[in-house]
């Protein structure tokens, strides 16, 4: 992984996985395994954040329904 830039850090992944990703990104805009993994991880974190936001918004609604059902006070 390219860590010449001081804002970057190294993370180890299995070589077999790295080889698979190399094959997968051929012909795509991703020139390195690092750039592909960075993209995927950012996407996952974004999805995870959205999920949390939705859950918080609707949590009270679910709690109100659970109260109606008698499960919680």
């Amino acid at each position: 992984m390219d860590n010449q830039n001081k804002d970057l850090t190294s993370i180890s992944i299995p070589k077999s996985l790295s080889d698979k990703i190399k094959g997968k990104i051929e012909g795509t805009p991703f020139h390195t395994v690092s750039s592909y993994i960075t993209f995927v991880m950012r996407l996952m974190i974004l999805e995870s954040s959205n999920k949390d936001a939705i859950t918080k918004e609707d949590e009270e609604n679910v709690k109100a329904k659970l109260k109606k059902l008698g499960y919680i006070d």
Binding site: T55, L66, L69, G70, Y71
Partner: protein, 385 residues
Amino acid sequence: MLNLFKKNDEKKLNVIMITLDALRPDFADKLPNLKKLIPNSTYFNNLTTYAPHSTGAFYAIFSGIYGSENGVNSYFGIEDFKEDKCKLLTQYFKERNYTTIGDSMNAIILPQQGFDKYLEQEEKTDVEKVHSEIIDELNNLNKENKNFFVHLHISSIHYKLIHNVVKKYKFDNPEYYNQVEKNKQSYLNYALEADAQFGKILEKLEKYNLLDNSILVVYSDHGSSCGEKFGERYYSAFCYDITLRTFILFYNKNIFPAFRSDKLARTIDIMPTILEALNIKEDNRFMKLTGKSLFLIIRNEEKGQRIAFSETAPLEGTAPYSSPKDPIIHSIRTQDWKLMFIKPIKKFELYNIKNDYNEENNLFGKGYKEEQDLIDLLKNYVKID
């Protein structure tokens, strides 16, 4: 198979689904109306639910997919339902121009997608009146030669448990667990009340001859504890069979033979069975169903045994271990064996169900070869450190 139709033609029969919420199969045989129907039906009394609580259970039943995959693995999981990837049973009928009517105990229980009309019960709702009016509506649709898909929810056991157990005893009150026989008698009374409601529905469906061109599907979403297991007052605290085990009954004399089975099956198998009964093909544009049609068992074509995965996310203050949004109690079940994993304390329990129906003798760590097999199976669904 009794089949009056050409193999590949879809059958335009109505579908009437009736849920007897929280009814245990070991009490079903004691209920006069249900008992009357069983001998002329296809009846499985060893069905395992994905979740011992209604929300996870219903989404698994209506999607044919475990909540660990469809996104609804807790009460709060409804916000995470993968509706773009999962096609619900109701939606199969909606797109075939059926009129779809859903009666539900609560909007977080039964998935709303695909229903033309969705009725949410309040505790004070006169459920019998609502059901009677829905059946009148079905009769009108039938007279106009319009097909319908309907779900009716009998919720009386749930509300009796809430008032007489949940509101009266904390989950760790030993008094409740020291009076199991008394609790069972009370539970039987609740079940008889639910069965009486079921009887009235059945009577009216018969009066209008609506069963003649319908598939009737009667089942429970999950079971219920009568205090047999400490910490489990009603359901959702653990993954013992008293709360996981349920039943399914299919009635249509041209499609479902008189057949009774105690082979292990799963509630996720209900949807593929209904689709096969009507020759409806699975829509491959969506996530593949994890359930398998029960016709394989009915026709004696099943190879191997089914494996049932279950999990629960207990609400705070309702169980010894709680985690309202993420399941923390998991289990894997085969015909004869059961492994439960209690994640917060990293404890396994292993039971030989064949010899120990009530799961009283924990065999984990006692050298049974099934132990590692079941751990490996469970690892297919859950990360075990």
